[in-house]
């Protein structure tokens, strides 16, 4: 626990210094000449974080990492959210940690996770991939950072397949993104040959579960950041001759934000503590639960943050609008609260008949 806190405060200090308001805004897309949404990708930032070793925290020591567990990534992701860090954080931190064949890239060039299973309810829109031996065919309508990646990690059924983006039969088409922190691409596979197929049954489940958990931690950080900005704002902004934070209507909304943000933070901590060494079914339940709650709580906290910022909250000139758009984008990735409630309910009411 103490190590978690040390690492998190190191990350927080560094980001406060080096990822300041100007740089953050420029990367998010609000710099001079920006159209309001950045590309979600900055090669310089990715290389900088690789250099700092943050991507290698959960990679085994024998493969050049620090040798901590995926749970140790949680506090980092909270800081990434809190500071609105853009880029392939999940891809660069999690995939090398879980998939032995992927090494951390010194320049921060990410692997991409090409997963038609990011949603249950909208599966038809996302697409599917079928596999025969090493041969993959199908389409995934949106994959994060596929156009920047040096390897595609395609999840097909229970198999994890590593595919060279330049291989015959692979088409990666960049598409637009309304998420200020992420670049998307469409991936088409037409009898593309995977370099490697891992059919360890648990690996697909573990990648998805840890993605949910780390996205939840990032959402926790977004909620925390939005709350911090709001407390600062209502303590300073004056109307009717006094700070608006002295009005009970404002106080109670802020207190609710604090209660929800604290509740989410504690749930993230509890999940990280329980997840290491959990069985696959248990891990899946823990992950779905924390992601569902994070989706709802973080979006709600950001909405109240905008409300308490008044008109300024609706503009790109305050951070809260960026927190909100980021939270909305992460909300549905690997399931929002509505979708995941069904998943959790099914696991509890019918533990045998599922999946």
């Amino acid at each position: 626990m103490a190590e978690h806190d040390d690492l998190a405060s190191t990350v927080h200090d560094y980001l406060t210094r080096s990822y300041d308001c100007d740089r953050r805004r420029t990367l998010l897309g609000d710099g001079p000449g920006g159209d309001g949404t950045g590309s979600g990708w900055d090669a310089g930032l990715a290389a900088e974080l690789a250099e700092l070793g943050w991507y290698s925290v959960a990679v085994a020591e024998c493969r050049g990492g620090i040798g901590a567990t995926p749970a140790d990534l949680g506090p980092l992701f909270e800081q990434y959210g809190r500071h609105l860090v853009i880029g392939p954080l999940l891809e660069n931190s999690l995939l090398p940690a879980l998939v032995e064949q992927i090494g951390p890239d010194p320049a921060g060039t990410p692997p991409a996770l090409v997963d038609p299973g990011i949603t249950d309810d909208r599966a038809a829109e996302i697409g599917s991939v079928s596999r025969t031996g090493r041969e993959l065919t199908g389409t995934v309508a949106a994959a994060r950072f596929a156009a920047q990646a040096n390897v595609l990690v395609v999840l097909a059924g229970a198999a994890v397949c590593l595919v060279d983006p330049a291989a015959p039969g692979v088409r990666v088409e960049p598409i637009g993104s309304a998420d200020p922190g992420t670049a998307f691409a469409r991936v088409r596979l037409d009898a593309a040959s995977a370099d490697l197929v891992v059919t360890d049954g648990d690996l697909v489940g573990r990648i998805r579960a840890w993605s949910r958990i780390l996205l939840a931690c990032e959402l926790d950080g977004l909620a925390r950041g939005a709350l911090e900005r709001t407390v600062e704002h209502v303590g300073r902004r004056e109307q009717f001759g006094r700070p608006i934070g002295g009005f009970q209507a404002v106080q109670h909304l802020a207190a609710d934000m604090a209660a929800r943000s604290t509740g989410l933070h504690n749930l993230c901590l509890a999940t990280l503590a329980d997840a290491d060494g959990a069985s696959t079914a248990r891990l899946d339940l823990l992950a779905s639960t924390v992601k569902a709650h994070a989706a709802q709580a973080a979006v709600g906290v950001c909405e109240d943050a905008i409300q308490l910022h008044g008109g300024m909250g609706f503009t790109t000139e305050t951070d809260v609008s960026w927190y909100y758009r980021r939270a909305l984008a992460l909300r549905g990735w690997y399931g929002d609260e509505i979708e995941l409630r069904h998943r959790i309910g099914a696991a509890l009411l019918d533990p045998e008949g599922r999946m």
């Binding site: 934070g245 009970q248 604290t262 989410l264 509890a270 309910g345 009411l349």
Partner: protein, 387 residues
């Protein structure tokens, strides 16, 4: 730590195993719906717990307790709830009034009152709130005027659980009207058979009838029944309300956990696996995990004896929200048969879930309303300017 406690207390896992074994061998009583019989049954249950050594686990041995730690007490609470056993009837005495008497009482008060409180021979009620002093408890008006060796007490109390069946009442009274409102309050121990006391039960929307109004008309209370010093009752009251809160939160968590397990069993037995049931149980489970995570922090603070903090108010807000979400989700599955007692829509027992859902609405009112907690969080945790 006194010299008699040279041996280490029993380890928590051993203690838990012993509690579980005892609860398995001692079938808990069925709780009858009729309030009077219920009182008798639950009082007998307290006697059973007391005789087996489970009452006042964290109290000192001198006070008749178990001489164990708060952690042991919390483990027993958990096991009691998981065994679907009811709480002993004298909970207010055991968790609120008793610890105050133990800490602030005279030797004589402790000797005469505590053993009977533990055994359930004396049931205590807590006369704090008044019709005009709810959230603003310190503005209470019940007066106590010195008269020879006695006080003469007049006024009115409300929300006094079990007052109509209690033998004793912990009563907050005003003994000085000339000073700041918190500084003129005293804590009296009042024999409920004293002339001048009348009680009137209030029926709640759940159908239960544990609350009462208490009317005091020139009630004579011996001055030796003052707890602590005159005009220093406010500190005693806030100390005990604070220590009650953590334990109550933890108990409620286990109760909610058990309730959700029961609902899942009832739904599963009927094979009610439609989308609506899945969604409701999913949402209730998420809420329970939030509470579980929150109470890990509560437990840590309780065991470290950190004392009251504004984080207690965050706990309370989270607990309110979780409790109301869990029961609203489960009761929502009853559909139109909610209003038909004895029915089993989707396998769920309509009376139980309708009752528990109604009761959940009290969660954000008792023990400091949600509005009060929000103000505390805003001003003391977030540091916003005082309104």
């Amino acid at each position: 730590m006194s010299s008699t406690e040279s041996e280490l207390p029993e380890s928590l896992p051993d203690f838990r195993a012993r509690a579980r074994a005892w609860l398995a061998s001692t079938p808990p009583p069925e709780v009858p719906p009729d309030p009077d019989t219920r009182f008798t049954v639950l009082r007998r249950w307290q006697r059973t717990l007391f005789e087996a050594g489970w009452a006042g686990l964290a109290w000192s041995r001198e006070a008749g307790g178990g001489g164990l730690t708060h952690a042991h007490h919390l483990v027993f609470v958990e096991e009691l709830v998981r065994a679907r056993a009811p709480q002993p009837i004298g909970l207010i005495g055991l968790e609120v009034v008793g610890p105050s008497i133990d800490r602030y009482g005279t030797d004589r008060q402790r000797r005469e009152l505590l053993p009977r409180l533990l055994s359930g021979d004396d049931i205590w009620c807590q006369g704090f709130s008044e019709p005009e002093a709810g959230s603003d408890l310190a503005s209470l008006r019940t007066r106590a005027v010195a008269d020879g060796d006695d006080y003469l007490v007049s006024g009115q109390k409300i929300w006094t659980s079990w007052a109509h069946q209690a033998q004793w009442c912990a009563l907050l009274v005003r003994t000085d009207t000339a000073v700041r409102k918190q500084a003129g309050i005293s804590y009296l121990l009042v024999d409920m058979t004293s002339p001048g006391i009348t009680t009137r039960p209030i029926r709640q929307m759940t159908g239960d009838q544990e609350f009462c109004e208490v009317f005091l008309d020139e009630v004579r209370v011996p001055r030796q029944n003052l707890l602590g010093a005159e005009n220093e009752g406010w500190a005693i009251a806030t100390h005990t309300l604070g220590s009650e809160r953590g334990a109550a939160t933890l108990r409620r968590r286990v109760e909610l956990e058990v309730a959700l397990d029961d609902a899942v069993d009832e739904l599963g037995a009927r094979g009610s696996l439609d989308g609506r049931a899945r969604s409701a149980i999913g949402r209730a489970h998420i809420a329970m995990r939030v509470l579980d995570a929150q109470t890990r922090q509560t437990t840590a603070r309780l065991l470290a004896n950190t004392g009251p903090t504004p984080l207690d108010s965050v706990d309370k807000l989270v607990l309110n929200d979780v409790e109301q979400t869990v029961f609203a989700e489960i009761a929502g599955l009853l559909g139109p048969l909610r209003a038909v007692p004895g029915s089993r829509p989707a396998g769920l027992r309509s009376e139980r879930w309708a009752h528990d859902h109604l009761y959940s609405r009290a969660a954000s009112i008792y023990g400091g309303s949600a509005q009060i907690q929000r103000t505390i969080v805003a001003e003391r945790l977030l540091g916003l300017p005082r309104g």
